[in-house]
Amino acid sequence: MNRKYWDIASGLGVIALGVALISASTHIKSLDVSRFGSGFFPAIVAILFMILGLVIFVGGIKQARGPDQKVEKDGKPRMWAVFATFVLMAAYATFLPSIGFLISTALYLFIQMLLLVPNDRRNFLVFGIISIVTSVVVYYTFVEVFQLMLPAGILG
């Protein structure tokens, strides 16, 4: 999508959020004696969302009538890298309880470094060592020195 339509989309998004919030807030029961129960503040915020969404939407339309916006000067954003990073983080959170902190962190670090590094500086050995050492140092520092519980997983 052309960048100049983004504000139209965000405006509509904010309005949608307001609509969702107001419909949800009318279902909140109240045990409070006053007229202003637990749904009152959410309803006010919802109304403000709708107003602001409209303002952003109208601003977006003005912008869309203008000239096309230039692509950012740093070149094309690497959306695949962002997405891959997110998937990797989610995988890390998923496997953390079952396989434990030490292994999942070392694996996460290794793969994440490979994902972020420019091709010409890829170094499996160095990344591998850093990943394992960091994972071990962090684990023992937190568990032994700072008395924090971390999932031990299959090693525990």
Binding site: I28, V33, F41, L52, Y92, A93, Y108, M113, R121
Partner: protein, 502 residues
């Protein structure tokens, strides 16, 4: 007050505390000087370290981080012309030209020394303002807190800059996210989407870690920019403080003015060092006899920026301790840290936990001296850290984020919360929404709602009775005034833009 100081001194001047201050300042400077890592992040990542510590020791570590981090940004600002944190943006403008001219030692010396002075001033202000303000705030009723929260929310306008509507929307989003969980007063669960883990609402810590650490990692993944080693100016010498007595005397007024700006902006809720250094630089330039020299590498600019950004520290702690309203993003994090240790900031903190409060004052003071020594003698070590590649640092930071989030309640659910807020922060940035107003919403929304409803209970549901309290009226009036002023200046800016475009 003197005996309170003695108690605070006893609490904070133990070996354990001082060690934590040194550690804090060291980690703080590292996070401060490496662009992309911020003081807020440093505090977020170190809070889990404090879980097992006594409160004063924990606060000592956090104060060290705050002072080190706020000052540390000057190193990269001067040496590579990239501010290490938003607190040092204006330091680049004169600091780097100085360094490029071969006077990096002088620029660093001035920056470090005035960071120290700025912090010192602000600690003095904190010590004199906070206790009487806390005393005064003891008289506050829920209606006052409600009005104060409303007034503080208007700071969103200042944070939003040109994107006013988007900024307010983000502030509201913060409020909406804070609705999740058990409602105040009648304890009705709302917006939990069936997750019982959300019954207590989002914890502020994972939320902030996600917004300010994970979002940043996703940003770097997108950009793929690397800092080359050669860009760091390493050929500098530190000779004494780098400036003469005459130069010092010449900066007196500039320093005092910048410190006052920093303290004032610090006290205002939500806006902090990221704003004060730029405002102070602007004022110094417009008041100067030689404004044309600003930006070419004169120490006036470095003095204005560094004094103001560091004097924000003491200022921002004033509303945090006395009213429970954080003065900036770092203090928002520290608020989370205080609550983990069972300390509820507010006027009662001064009565119930006096030694902790005064311990914080003393810890700040010690941290300031540690920062001066560490930056002065260790500047080369920190400068070298600037060339550590991001692709190694950021994954490690995320692992630490996960540790912090997990350690909070010993559940993986909070790691997911971090991820959720990380993606949210990233998407907001992509759509050109300013992200910092969200914190104001998350913290002030519940404060406004709880006190509004508590106040109504006291008045049997009659809102008009709120107006019978003069302090409430003052805050409400200030709120209206602030909204009108923000609106007017926004319209004026738009007109200017149109005129410039035509």
């Amino acid at each position: 007050m003197l005996e309170m100081f003695a108690a605070g001194f006893q609490a904070a001047f133990t070996l354990h505390s001082v060690l934590m201050i040194v550690l804090g300042v060291f980690i703080g400077i590292i996070f401060g000087c490496i662009p992309g890592l911020t003081t807020t992040m440093a505090v977020a990542l170190c809070i889990p370290l404090t879980f097992g510590m006594p409160p004063t020791v924990a606060m000592s570590l956090l104060m060290g981080l705050y002072v080190g981090g706020t000052s540390g940004g000057l190193i990269s600002a001067i040496l590579i012309n990239i501010p290490g944190t938003p607190a040092s943006v204006a330091t680049c403008w004169d600091g780097h030209p100085l360094a490029a001219r071969g006077e990096a030692g002088k620029a660093l010396g001035v920056g470090v020394f005035y960071s120290f002075l700025g912090t010192l001033f602000s600690i003095a202000a904190l010590v004199f303002i906070a206790p009487p303000l806390a005393d005064f705030a003891l008289q506050f009723w829920p209606s006052e807190y409600f009005a104060l929260a409303l007034f503080s929310l208007t700071m969103v306008g200042t944070l939003a800059g040109k994107q006013l509507a988007k900024g307010i929307a983000v502030g509201l989003l913060g409020m909406a996210l804070a609705f999740v969980g058990t409602a105040p007063i009648d304890a009705i669960p709302r917006f939990t989407f069936g997750f019982h883990e959300l019954d207590g609402g989002f914890d502020i810590l994972p939320a902030l870690i996600g917004l300010f650490a994970v979002a940043e990692i996703l940003n770097v993944a997108e950009k793929d920019v690397e800092l080359k080693k050669s860009e760091v100016l390493m050929s500098f010498k530190m000779k004494g403080l780098g400036f003469s007595m005459k130069e010092f005397v010449g900066q007196t007024w500039n320093m005092i003015r910048s410190a006052l700006i920093g303290i004032g902006i610090g006290i205002l809720p939500g806006i902090g060092a990221g704003t004060s250094n730029i405002v102070s630089y602007g004022v110094a330039k417009s008041q100067s006899k030689h404004p044309e020299k600003f930006g070419t590498g004169i120490i006036d600019g470095v003095v204005a920026s560094e004094t103001a950004s560091c004097s924000t520290i003491g200022g921002a702690i004033v509303p945090l301790l006395t009213l429970g309203i954080p003065g900036d993003t770092v203090t928002a994090m520290i608020l989370g840290g205080l609550m983990i240790h069972g300390l509820q900031p507010g006027p009662l903190l001064f009565i119930q936990n006096g030694p902790v409060v005064y311990g914080i004052f003393i810890a700040l003071l010690i941290a300031n001296f540690v920062m001066l020594a560490m930056e002065f003698f260790g500047i080369r070590i920190f400068a070298r850290l600037l060339s550590v590649p991001k692709y190694i640092l950021l994954p490690i930071i995320f692992a630490l984020c996960a540790v912090g989030a997990f350690g909070l309640n010993n559940r993986v659910f909070d790691v997911w919360v971090v991820l959720f807020f990380g993606v949210l922060g990233y998407v907001l940035q992509k759509l050109k929404f300013p992200t910092s107003p969200i914190i104001l919403g998350i913290i002030l929304g519940p404060m406004a709602e709880t006190n509004f409803r508590r106040g109504l209970q006291m008045t049997n549901g009659d809102f008009l009775q709120f107006f019978t309290r003069p302090i409430t009226d003052v805050f409400l009036l200030a709120t209206v005034l602030m909204i009108v002023l923000t609106g007017l200046s926004h319209i004026r800016d738009k007109k200017k833009e149109v005129a410039a475009g035509a």
